[in-house]
């Protein structure tokens, strides 16, 4: 928290530096002594894990860019022939980068669901949440551009499907959508021009993410962390300094996360991949099923749940824009779902709903589910899932806060942690 620095420069040099560039003071105040609620659990370690993921993606990505050739004719071979076979440890750098993207999204989803569960988006932390959603959108854009670069079949057709969404605008103003799509492609089809601009943007956006992460952390340091109880810090007895307490805790859980990461990298590097992306892009052959990476599947299911293209695109857009608004959609004064029995259930249904939508998104559009002889087209599940997704934010969040009887909040964090054992999740 600003304004009450306890930093005392110890040497002549640090006194000199402190007058000119108080960078050590900043580090001291924001990392070392920053008062942090003493009851943060495992789910609060994902902020640090995400910073690690961003670092891994940038470092491996910079090295990959040294060997990658952004050309429709050469891209596939520069990855599968060059980086994977000829470049020293190129295979390692590439599978770290490819699996790193999945790990990044895994961590960000846990981080976001944690924020929703404990009400971390509520007053006074709205800006932290909004900046977080912005990071998430930038991540999706970056991942989409990155997935196009190896120039496999799924790269090409994924790029074609997503950019073609803009052509839905033709239904509003004739030719507008087509014009925008052509402008995005830089050509009359996805090709060399598209690949080159996607490469440029894929290199640019991570640095934009890093900048917004800086703002996200800055905004976090104004009110300080929320916590699993969702109650305010009332005094120094409720907090511990970030270092060494949370540096030690974050480091341990980061190491566990790295074990999971390494398990995929070394033992199942193609687990998240699609076999079709090992086939070079071919504009003349459409894959049987065009599917995005797993972390975009729920949105893909929502998009496809609407037969009318423009409305489908609006639903997709709405599902993302909604996220920005939830600090004002949720009417409850109580932050944490630990004390919100009804919202807790709605939350878990929502989490399962996202998994369900992801599953539907992974299946072909006309798939039919055979439930003991009853034929259920999956598109109906997608519609039900989409309805709940929107209802959760636009109906349940405003409504439940008004009707539910919340449990009594503990007096303070210190009492809850150090006194009688507080209620766990």
């Amino acid at each position: 928290m600003a304004g009450n620095s306890t930093y005392v420069p110890a040497t002549g040099f640090t006194r000199w530096l402190d007058k000119r560039l108080p960078i050590l003071r900043l580090t001291h105040d924001t990392v070392s002594t920053f008062p942090t609620p003493r009851n943060l659990n495992i789910w609060y370690t994902f902020g640090g894990i995400l910073t690690f993921c961003l670092g891994v993606q940038i470092v491996t990505g910079v090295v990959l860019a040294m060997h990658y050739v952004a050309s429709a004719d050469l891209a596939f071979n520069s990855v599968e022939g060059g980086i994977m076979r000829e470049v020293n440890y190129g295979w390692l750098i590439r599978i770290l980068h490819a699996n790193g993207a999945s790990m990044f999204f895994l961590a960000v989803y846990i981080h976001m669901f944690r924020g929703v569960y404990y009400g971390s988006y509520k007053e006074p932390r709205e800006m932290i949440w909004i900046l977080g959603v912005l990071i998430y959108l930038l991540m999706m854009a970056t991942a989409f551009f990155g997935y196009v670069l190896p120039w496999g079949q799924m790269s090409f057709w994924g790029a074609t499907v997503i950019t073609s969404l803009f052509s839905a605008l033709d239904q509003v103003i004739p030719h507008l959508g087509t014009a925008i799509t052509t402008w995005l492609w830089g050509d009359f089809a996805v090709g060399d021009a598209t690949l080159n601009r996607f490469f440029s943007l894929h290199y640019l956006l991570p640095f934009a993410i890093a900048a917004v992460v800086g703002l996200h952390i800055w905004a976090l340091h104004i009110p300080g962390n929320n916590n699993p109880l969702g109650i305010d810090v009332k005094g120094p007895q409720d907090t511990v300094p970030f270092h060494p307490y949370y540096t030690a805790k974050d480091a341990f859980y980061l190491a566990l996360f790295m074990i999971l990461f390494a398990a995929f990298v070394f033992y199942a590097p193609d687990f998240f991949g699609n076999p079709d992306n090992s086939i070079q892009a071919n504009p003349l052959v459409t894959p049987t099923d065009i599917v995005p990476e797993w972390y975009l599947l729920p949105y893909y299911a929502m998009l496809r749940s609407v037969p009318q293209k423009l409305i489908g695109v609006l639903v997709l857009l709405g599902s993302l824009v909604t996220l920005f608004l939830i600090p004002w959609l949720d009417s409850s004064k109580v932050r944490s779902c630990r004390f919100r029995p009804l919202m807790k259930q709605c939350f878990w249904v929502f989490a399962l709903d996202c998994v369900l939508l992801g599953y539907v998104g992974s299946q072909s559009a006309d798939a039919v589910l055979n439930l003991g002889g009853m034929q259920l087209p999956l598109v109906w599940l997608a519609r039900a899932g989409t309805a709940y997704y929107f209802a959760y934010f636009w109906v349940l969040m405003p409504l439940v806060g008004r009707i539910e009887r919340t449990k009594a909040l503990p007096e303070s964090i210190a009492k809850s942690v150090l006194g009688t054992a507080g209620e766990r999740i």
Binding site: R38, N39, N77, E80, G81, M84, R85, W91, L92, I95, V240, P244, Y245, A248, K249, A251, F252, A255, L256, M258, I259, A262, A263, V265, F266, Y267, P269, D270, P275, D276, S278, I279, T288, Q345, C346, W348, V349, L352, D353, V355, L356, Y359, Q363, A367, V368, L369, N370, L378, L381, V417, L418
Partner: protein, 266 residues
């Protein structure tokens, strides 16, 4: 969790059950799982199978299928078939690599044949056809895919390619029409495949005396193609072991310091 439970059951049921689409004669059969030496976290390639599989590729598959991404030096590289450098050089020299135009701008020799030179270790396997059109013209309009990544490029990986290679022995069900110029293979999408049955008993004579049944040949060539698609598997598994050992140790130490620092704080 009262509301969540039925929902959980439904979701799990869907995830485990998968989709069932109406089964018809042209839907491909699920692939048969076979045993592979390179499976699991400690898996390595069976050197004998790699060398035999290379022989099958060279003597059978390479008549129609290219292997563009594999270089001759891969044959004597670590984690590969384990040929000696001399063997790899001799193998490379047996291939003719396009060499035109020469310093006079000629692309044909005095007999009107395209100029070539013997392969060296740095060369990649030359494709059997000069271009896609020539490949299609020789194969009834169908394009034999490049095999460098075929194991990674098909759902089911080695099991799929293996099932496909031995699946030609199955007879079409009564009433199933095999299209003109196509062959019946129950593991192929649509079950009509343009590739004629590539392997027969005794297609190759193995140098190590292994009996060359279709099943053996398929197993060997799939092992070879799995290596071609993932030549760093052994290096990766080895490094994985070291990284895992390090991370487990690191986690243990970090856990101890975490407990020590937090002692009495919660």
């Amino acid at each position: 969790m009262r509301i969540a439970l039925p929902f959980l059951a439904l979701t799990l049921g869907l995830l485990l059950g998968g989709t069932a689409t109406a089964a018809d004669d042209s839907a491909p059969l699920p692939v048969e799982h076979a045993q592979w030496s390179f499976e699991g976290p400690l898996g390595t390639y069976d050197r004998g199978a790699l060398q035999r599989g290379f022989q099958v590729y060279k003597e059978v598959c390479s008549a129609c299928h290219s292997l563009n991404l594999v270089a001759f030096h891969d044959l004597d590289g670590p984690g590969g078939p384990g040929f000696t450098e001399a063997q790899a050089k001799a193998l490379a020299a047996g291939y003719k690599i396009p060499a035109g135009p020469n310093d006079k701008g000629e692309i044909f020799d005095t007999h009107g044949n395209p100029l070539t030179r013997p392969g060296v270790l740095a060369d990649h396997f030359p494709p059997p056809f000069p271009n896609e059109e020539a490949a299609r013209a020789s194969n009834g309009g169908a394009l034999p895919p490049d095999l460098s990544l075929i194991v990674k490029a098909r759902a089911g990986g080695p099991d799929y390619v293996n099932s496909l290679l031995i699946g030609f022995s199955q007879k079409p069900p009564h009433g199933f029409t095999v299209q003109d110029g196509k062959f019946y293979n129950p593991y192929f999408a649509g079950r009509n495949i343009a590739m004629p049955p590539p392997l027969v008993d005794g297609s190759v004579t193995y140098a190590d005396g292994t009996k060359s049944s279709v099943v053996q040949e398929a197993h060997d060539v799939v092992t070879f193609l799995a290596w071609a698609a993932d030549p760093n598997l052994e290096a990766r598994h080895q490094m994985g072991l070291e990284v895992m050992a390090f991370l487990v140790l690191l986690s243990g130490l970090l856990y101890l310091s975490y407990r020590k620092i937090w002692k009495g704080q919660h």
